[in-house]
Amino acid sequence: MLKANEIARRLKLGARAGEAGLDEGMANNPMVIDPLVIVPMVDPDEFAASGSASIDLRLGTWFVSLRQARMSHLEVDAPSQNIQFAKTHYVPFGESYYLHPRSFVLATTLEWLRLPGNMAAYVIGRSSWGRRGLIIATATGVHPGFKGCLTLEITNVGEIPIAIRPGMAICQLFFHEVIGDESSNSDRSQFAGSRKPSIGRIRPDDFFRKLTNRPQFAWIVSQYKRALANRIDEQGGLDPSSHIFNYLDEESRKYIEELPVGERLSIESQLQEVLARTISHPAE
C-alpha cells in the first residue's frame, strides 16, 4: 500500500503530464507517461503533510435510484429490465439527495480518476459516515488502468433519512502498487470512461451457461450461426435493425416462446450476442 508522501510524489508528477515542453528526462519518466491523476486536483503538498494513507473523494452530482417495479424478481441476463427499475437523477451543488432508511442509491465520485497500469485502489467508506448508518461501496476494487468516475453503491442502514450532498467528502481511496507485466494490467471495466453511475450489465459466462443451458440451446445457437452465415452469403450482409427471430427457424422460435421466462431470456440474450457479433465481424 502506498503512503502519503509516495502518493503525493506520483500526483505531482501526474499533474505535469499534460504540460507542454517538458525536458527530456521528465517527459520520459514512466510516471509522467502513464500518470496517476485525480481531477479536481488534491494539493499534493497538503496531502503529504497530512500523513494519511488514503485520499478523500467527494460525492458527485449524478445518482441512479432503484425503484419498486412490477417485477417478481430480477433476472441475471435481462438488460431490458434495467430500464424498468433504474432512474437517473441530477442533483446540483447546494441541493441534497435524501436517502431513506434501508434505501439504496448508486452515485459517483466527483473526482475523475486515472490509474496507471501499475497501480490499483480500494474505495472504502469514511468512518464518520459509517457511524451514522451510511454504507458506501460494496464492490470496492479499482483495477489498474481505470479511467473515469468511480461508482459508489450507497445504503442507509440507519433509522433516519440522511441528506447526502454533492461535493461532500464521502469515501476514501487506498492505493496499491501492482506487481507484474504492466501492459496486461489494463482495465476492461464496462464502467470505464464514465462520469455517471450506471447499472451495467451482468453477462453470464460460458461456464455458467454450460451448467445451466438446456442441451437444446447449444443446438439452436449453432443452427442460428449457420442461418446467419447463409444469409450473409445470399444477401451480402445482415440488417442491423433486425430482430433476432428474423433469422430463426420456425421450430426453434416456437420452442423458445414456450420456455419459462428466465430460460427464454437467457437463450434470447445468447442469440442477440451472436447476431451483434456477426454484424460487427461478418467474416468470422
Partner: protein, 289 residues
C-alpha cells in the same frame, strides 16, 4: 428562466457537448434584446432596404408600376423616390421585417463565432450541412450567405475557418414567391450585405476581451494533451477552449488507439470526458470565487 439558454437539438444529440457552441447563437438573441439592438439598428435596416430598392429600380418599377400611380417610378429623381419610399413604407414591410430578422440572426452567428471560435463553425456544419430544412425560412439569411458571412468575419475574431468549410453547404429551396413578395425578399437579402459591418461592430463591442476571453489555439492544444491521457484538463481558461479541444479530439481518428477498449467507444467516452471537463471548469470557477 432568465439565466438559461435553451437550444433545441435532435434527440440523439441532446447530450452531445460538441454542439454546445450553438448555444452561443441563442445567447446572441438574449444580447440582442437586452441591448435593444433591434431598435438601435432599425434606421440602418430601413436605410439598407431603401438603398437596395434604389439599386433594383427597374425591378421595383416592373413589380409596382400598376399599383403605384402617384409617382412615376421610372423617371423619379433619387430625392423624390426616397421621399416616396419613406411615406409608403407599407409596400416594404416584409422586406424591412426580413432584413431586421436576418440582421438579428447574423448578429447571433457572430456572437457564437466570437464566443466559441472554430468550434462554432464545426458544430454549425455538424448540424446544418448540407442544408437546414426543406424550405428556407426568410427570417434567416440564405444558408450560403450565413456561411460566407461567418467565413469572412472569422479572421477578424482571430478564427481560422476549417478548410473547405464553405463548400459543405447549399441553400435550402426557397418558396415560390412572385411579384411584390419576391421583390421584398430580394431587397431584404441584399440589404443584409450593407448591414454586416454594423452588426460585426456591435458584436465586437459587446463581447470585448475583458468580458469574454478570446478562444486560444494554445489553450485548446494544452487541453487536448489532457484529453489524450483520458483526463479532464485542470485550469481550463474558458468553456470555448474546452470545446475547441473537444473538436480536435473528435476529429483525431487515432485518439486512444493504444487503449483498444476505449478506442472502440471513443466518441461516447469523449463526450463523457468533455462533460466532466465542463463540470471541473465550473468547480474550479466556484473555488476561485
Amino acid at each position: 428562466m432568465p439565466s438559461y439558454v435553451l437550444i433545441g437539438l435532435p434527440a440523439p444529440e441532446s447530450s452531445n457537448p460538441l454542439l454546445l457552441p450553438l448555444a452561443g447563437h441563442e445567447l446572441g438573441h438574449s444580447l440582442w434584446r437586452a441591448n435593444n439592438l433591434g431598435e438601435e439598428l432599425y434606421p440602418k435596416v430601413v436605410g439598407a432596404v431603401f438603398a437596395s430598392i434604389f439599386q433594383n429600380k427597374d425591378d421595383f418599377y416592373k413589380t409596382y408600376h400598376s399599383e403605384i400611380t402617384d409617382i412615376d417610378i421610372a423617371k423619379a429623381q433619387p430625392q423624390e423616390l426616397a421621399e416616396f419610399l419613406k411615406n409608403n413604407i407599407r409596400f416594404f414591410t416584409n422586406a424591412i421585417e426580413w432584413a431586421r430578422s436576418q440582421a438579428e440572426e447574423t448578429f447571433c452567428d457572430f456572437t457564437g463565432l466570437r464566443l466559441f471560435g472554430v468550434s462554432y463553425l464545426k458544430s454549425f456544419a455538424y448540424l446544418a450541412s448540407p442544408r437546414l430544412s426543406m424550405q428556407r425560412d426568410e427570417a434567416y439569411p440564405r444558408l450560403t450567405t450565413r456561411v460566407r458571412n461567418l467565413v469572412e468575419i472569422a479572421p477578424r475574431f482571430g478564427v481560422k475557418p476549417p478548410e473547405g468549410f464553405e463548400g459543405l453547404f447549399e441553400d435550402d429551396p426557397e418558396a415560390d414567391y412572385q411579384n411584390s413578395m419576391r421583390f421584398n425578399l430580394t431587397v431584404a437579402d441584399e440589404a443584409l450585405g450593407d448591414l454586416r459591418e454594423s452588426i460585426f461592430n456591435k458584436a465586437q463591442a459587446l463581447l470585448s476581451d475583458e468580458f469574454v476571453p478570446t478562444p486560444s489555439d494554445d489553450e485548446a492544444s494544452q487541453i487536448l494533451r489532457w484529453i489524450r491521457l483520458v483526463v479532464p484538463a485542470k485550469g481550463a481558461r474558458s468553456l470555448a477552449d474546452i470545446l475547441n479541444a473537444a473538436w480536435l479530439a473528435f476529429e483525431d481518428k487515432t485518439l486512444w488507439k493504444d487503449i483498444p477498449d476505449l478506442h472502440k467507444k471513443k466518441d461516447d467516452v469523449l463526450k463523457e470526458l468533455i462533460l466532466k471537463n465542463i463540470e471541473i471548469f465550473e468547480i474550479e470557477s466556484r473555488q476561485k470565487d
